[in-house]
Symmetry: C2
Subunit: 443 residues, 2 copies
């Protein structure tokens, strides 16, 4: 049987694992596909780098990816380099010329997935990217295929392992953000420059990809409201605990009516409190999990390893088996489903609950004044706790005389922002210690 020939772009952690598994599982993969997979070449930036003992002919390595992609004997291009350019140019070239693409490049898909999808249609080629979101968890294919008979209403996920490790550590040890980040860096859970993770850029890219698939609508990273975890304090984590909650960096993509009643999509990434009873609360360390709600299916959850060489390689190889099978029978998978083309709902219209911690003067009338501000913006208060600064079992002020912890019922982000703005102007409010969204409760 004529082999299906692969060009690998990139040979780092994931790439070396893909090479290793292609070798170790060659017989099984051939049996599942109906033809062997064969490496045509591996494009790398530098030739000399030590990649450990790899079971491949060293002559397969090249520093010229474009020539490799253009070779007639290449059927499938596997991209594991990441970043927008030059990856975009390579993949568009491959797809337009009819070569199938398997990629883990979430940044590119979130920035300009349209360019890739359009090129795939033009070249009648397959584009698969299971490894781009939540590593080994089979998640995109269920969204892309299994749930296509249903209407997905919300996707709520923990999709960044680094921030989940940091927040889990803060919850377990009481450490602050900086200390927990240092520990994560030391253990290899955070990169030397952790910006993409801790500022939520990585999660936002994944949120855009998930929302696009779930809602049949092109959503880009620019459409995602993004807040990172650098401002989350040990006091916030303690407050969450006191409420029976924990803090997670969530990506939340939801479909629903906007202020005019029109169907629309809202996508956001931010830290939020969730009740310990919620399945996502128990997702610890560097694991990922995604909670999907659909009209007929109800609640679904997918859980597993979101990163690492072997888990990511598992997703890449699963896609490879599919595109190789498709090539053998001369078909391509269904194109991107973006027919719904729903508008993006502004963040101000997102509805959720809020946990607000205020340092206030300890004198009569304070609670009435604060409550009045909430009422003025139509934000309904669910619970209030008040205590002296420095109390032990009670909320602790930061130099103020007393502390007020308020949890609201569901309100729009705009109403909440306006409330906070007005609270800041009250002279009895010394400072606003924290404002955190509360998700995953009963609504």
């Amino acid at each position: 049987m004529k082999p299906v020939r692969l060009a690998l772009l990139g040979c780092g952690t994931v790439g070396t694992e893909v090479v290793r598994l292609l070798h170790e599982q060659a017989a099984d993969l051939a049996a599942r596909i109906g033809a062997p997979l064969e490496l045509a070449g591996i494009a790398v930036r530098r030739m000399g780098r030590d990649r450990g003992p790899l079971p491949v002919n060293p002559e397969l390595f090249t520093t010229d990816p474009l020539s490799l992609i253009k070779r007639d004997d290449v059927d499938v291009v596997v991209e594991m380099v990441g970043g927008i350019e030059p990856a975009r140019g390579w993949l568009v070239e491959a797809l337009r010329s009819g070569k199938s693409v398997v990629t883990a490049n979430k940044a590119l898909l979130a920035e300009d997935g349209a360019a890739l999808h359009d090129a795939a249609v033009e070249g009648r080629a397959d584009l698969y990217y299971e490894a781009a979101v939540a590593g080994a968890i089979p998640l995109l294919r269920p969204l892309r295929e299994s749930l296509h008979g249903d209407t997905v209403t919300q996707v709520t996920g923990i999709v960044n392992g680094t921030t989940n490790y940091i927040l889990s550590a803060m919850d377990a040890t009481g450490a602050g953000f900086a200390e927990a980040l240092d520990q994560a860096t030391e253990l290899g859970y955070a990169e030397a420059d952790p910006t993409a993770d801790v500022e939520g850029f990585d999660a936002a890219a994944k949120a855009a990809i998930l929302a696009s698939l779930a809602f049949h609508t092109r959503v880009t990273a620019a459409d995602v409201h993004r807040e990172g975890i650098t401002e989350v304090t040990a006091a916030d984590v303690a407050s969450a605990r006191a409420m029976g909650c924990t803090i997670k960096l969530l990506c939340i993509a939801s479909r629903g009516p906007d202020s005019t009643g029109a169907d629309s999509v809202s996508v956001r990434v931010h830290p939020a409190m969730i009740p310990l009873s919620h399945p996502l609360a128990r997702v610890g360390d560097a694991f990922n999990a995604v909670f999907v709600e659909a009209v007929a299916a109800g609640q679904l959850m997918f859980y597993g390893r979101g990163a690492g060489g072997a888990p990511t390689a598992s997703a890449v190889l699963g896609d490879l088996v599919t595109v190789a099978r498709n090539r053998l029978v001369g078909v391509r998978a269904a194109s991107e489903s973006a027919y719904a083309a729903l508008p993006i709902r502004p963040m101000g219209e997102a509805r959720t609950r809020y946990h607000i911690s205020l340092d206030v003067a300890d004198r009569p009338g304070v609670l009435a004044a604060v409550a009045g501000v909430f009422a003025g913006h139509d934000v309904s208060i669910a619970t209030v706790r008040q205590g002296p600064a420095g109390g032990t079992d009670r909320p602790v002020g930061r130099g103020g005389d007393a502390v007020l912890v308020i949890v609201t019922h569901e309100a729009t982000d705009a109403a909440l922002a306006a409330t906070v703005e007005d609270l800041r102007r009250l002279d009895i409010v010394r400072s606003i210690a924290s404002v955190l969204r509360v998700e995953g409760g009963d609504r």
Copy 2:
């Protein structure tokens, strides 16, 4: 665009929901498929039955399924009748004549999936059955496609909602099996004849389907070791609690060496204790969850509703979108992957830990005698608890003088069975109150 025309076999809880969703979501389904879905006919056993207000032409109903299947204008057959015959004959006829089949018939797939897969190859037709296992949870497609680049080593699942509801109730309320079953029946979680659920037949059928997909091997219900939950007592549940465990009816399909070192498959369904820290322990009520372990992906979990009209219909419609798309482009999905054809490992070779509760005479030498029996069969003891009958915080005997609770390290089922047999013969052992497997711990 020419519509894809469907024949529905059966119009009960799931069927009516499928009809309703086909109507409500018609425009979305057409956009996702590229052509509308159209009902050609609905075969039912009795014409007059009240099915509520269904958005279909009453003339679509027929009591002659075979004629409906054979009609030239039928492209896809959706079977929601269940049972071995006459469903097998219908589906084989449909597939052989090139009609795609979507079915939720786990019993037939587990009994004689081979007949269906062979007919699908013969007729070059698609056979999809996501709804047959774990209802709405996209599980079979991930196993069938996403994980095809990986090696699955174990699938551990809670796949029967009725028994999970009963065991959850026993755990929460301290009720016995009969009482919890009555409650489940009253609330509609158990059928009038609960045998298929409580004796594990339903779970065993699903285990066979999961094992077939996970291990690329034809596994039938007859290959599955099956024990139900009717013997689980309130005392067992209390013992589990005392160990930090809960009792679940698990289906466990694993791949590994048999006694000769050859690669083989073991599939079993039985109640087992699992630690409360295990993700499956928290799957309550009628929910389903399946834990998958693969060499590269590591641990994955899939969670959601395992039954009910709407969740099952979601899975049926997801399959329908896929087979309809395939028909439009004139292709079929990859055939059944059964190339590995691994042998079934006998239950006696299954290795796990055990929790054994004995009523014994309260006199010197008893523990030594009992421990000697375990040692004689090479079964290593991990922990022993001993107490007088009727103690409160301690294990309680059932009319004996004392009670011994022993937890073993991992041992084969054969060694454990022989140990229990010999214990029964000891005159100091008044009775063996319970023998339960312990799963999901560190090994």
